[in-house]
Structure formats: structure tokens, C-alpha cells
Symmetry: C2
Subunit: 112 residues, 2 copies
């Protein structure tokens, strides 16, 4: 997933994770599969990026975590979005929409 596309998504990683956690508690591996599915396999988070982002969000107080009690299969660390996390998601979503508008002007309006 290297290259420009991933650099374009940079800065939105946290927002994407929060979006999924706003729907329901989940864990890293599952969220990444959902991302891949939603993008038809065009985008997925590198694992190091994924777990770094979870740590960042937890440190910021936007999510909390707990171990699931799987009685079979690999263990899972579940994440729950906090009230602050929901607010951050809304704010980030607005920021994305604003940034999108600006980029459309800056990149696309100069079409030949």
C-alpha cells in the first residue's frame, strides 16, 4: 500500500478508525478487513500503522480497550469509542469535508 495514494489518506487514519468504532466495538483485524471490503481491496492499513493509531487514539482519550474473552481462536483486543471520540469523529469529518472542498479547488479546477 505504499505510494502516493497512502500518503493522500494520511491524516485521515484516525477518522476512519473512529468511524467504524462509532458503529460498534471492534478490533484491529476486523476493522482492517472492513476497510478492504469497502474499498474493493484498494486500500488497507499497514498493521504497524493500525496499532500505532489505536495507541494514539487511546492516549488521546478517544477510545478505550479491553480483551475479548474468546474461548477459541486468537485473542482480540476490542476498542470502544468514548464520548470525546465521537465528538472528535464529527469534528474530523467536517475537517475532511472542508479539506476536500479546498483540494477540489486547488487540484481539479485547473482542468485543461
Amino acid at each position: 500500500m505504499a505510494g502516493i495514494a497512502s500518503d493522500m489518506i494520511r491524516g485521515n487514519t484516525d477518522t476512519i478508525l473512529l468511524r467504524f468504532l462509532c458503529e460498534k466495538d471492534s478490533y484491529g483485524y476486523e476493522i482492517n478487513k472492513q476497510i478492504l471490503k469497502l474499498t474493493d481491496g484498494q486500500y488497507g492499513l499497514n498493521e504497524a500503522t493500525l496499532y500505532t493509531a489505536f495507541k494514539r487514539l487511546e492516549r488521546a482519550g478517544y477510545i478505550t480497550s479491553y480483551w475479548g474473552n474468546e474461548n477459541q481462536g486468537a485473542r482480540r483486543r476490542y476498542y470502544t469509542v468514548t464520548q470525546e471520540g465521537r465528538a472528535a469523529y464529527e469534528a474530523n469529518r467536517n475537517e475532511w469535508q472542508n479539506a476536500k472542498r479546498l483540494l477540489e479547488r486547488l487540484i481539479e479546477d485547473g482542468k485543461d
Copy 2:
């Protein structure tokens, strides 16, 4: 211009500069003023970012530069986009449009 919005634009800096240079030869200070104008003052490149990007583009062979012969005022380094630069702009623009579509799915489709 710190914060999330600037991180969202990261990865598009080169594309933005190429877009302006595809219209006409220009120099750093002028392009930055155009960016500010197009975004109603909402976004402008940090100078260090700006000149770093020019260097990167020149090293990549996407632009060339020459000193303008101003007989008054501060000296200006003008940039010209190359054929490869135009091709890169088109490719980047497509990548941006693709990334935009993905981000809309990943961020916006989960609306409440």
C-alpha cells in the same frame, strides 16, 4: 496552518504546485498567494514546505528553474513544468480523485 487540515493536504502538495505551473511559469511566493486566494485564506503552504517541494519536483525532473531578471524588487526563481511534470500532474490528479472516492466511502458513508 498546523493541525489536521494540513495533514489532510499532505501528499497533494506536489500536485497543487504542478497544477499552477501547468498554467504558466511562476515562482514560489506568487503560487502561494494564488493558493491563499483560491482557498479564501484558509490554506497556504509553509515556506519551508514550499521550497522543499520545489526541490523535490526539480530532482524528479518534473520542473526546471531559472532566475528572473527583475530590475527592481526582490529576485525571483521561476519554475517551468516539463513534459514529465505534466504527465505526473495528470496521474496525480487521477490518484487524488480515486483517493477522494475511497475516503468518501470510508469517512462519510458511515453517517448517522
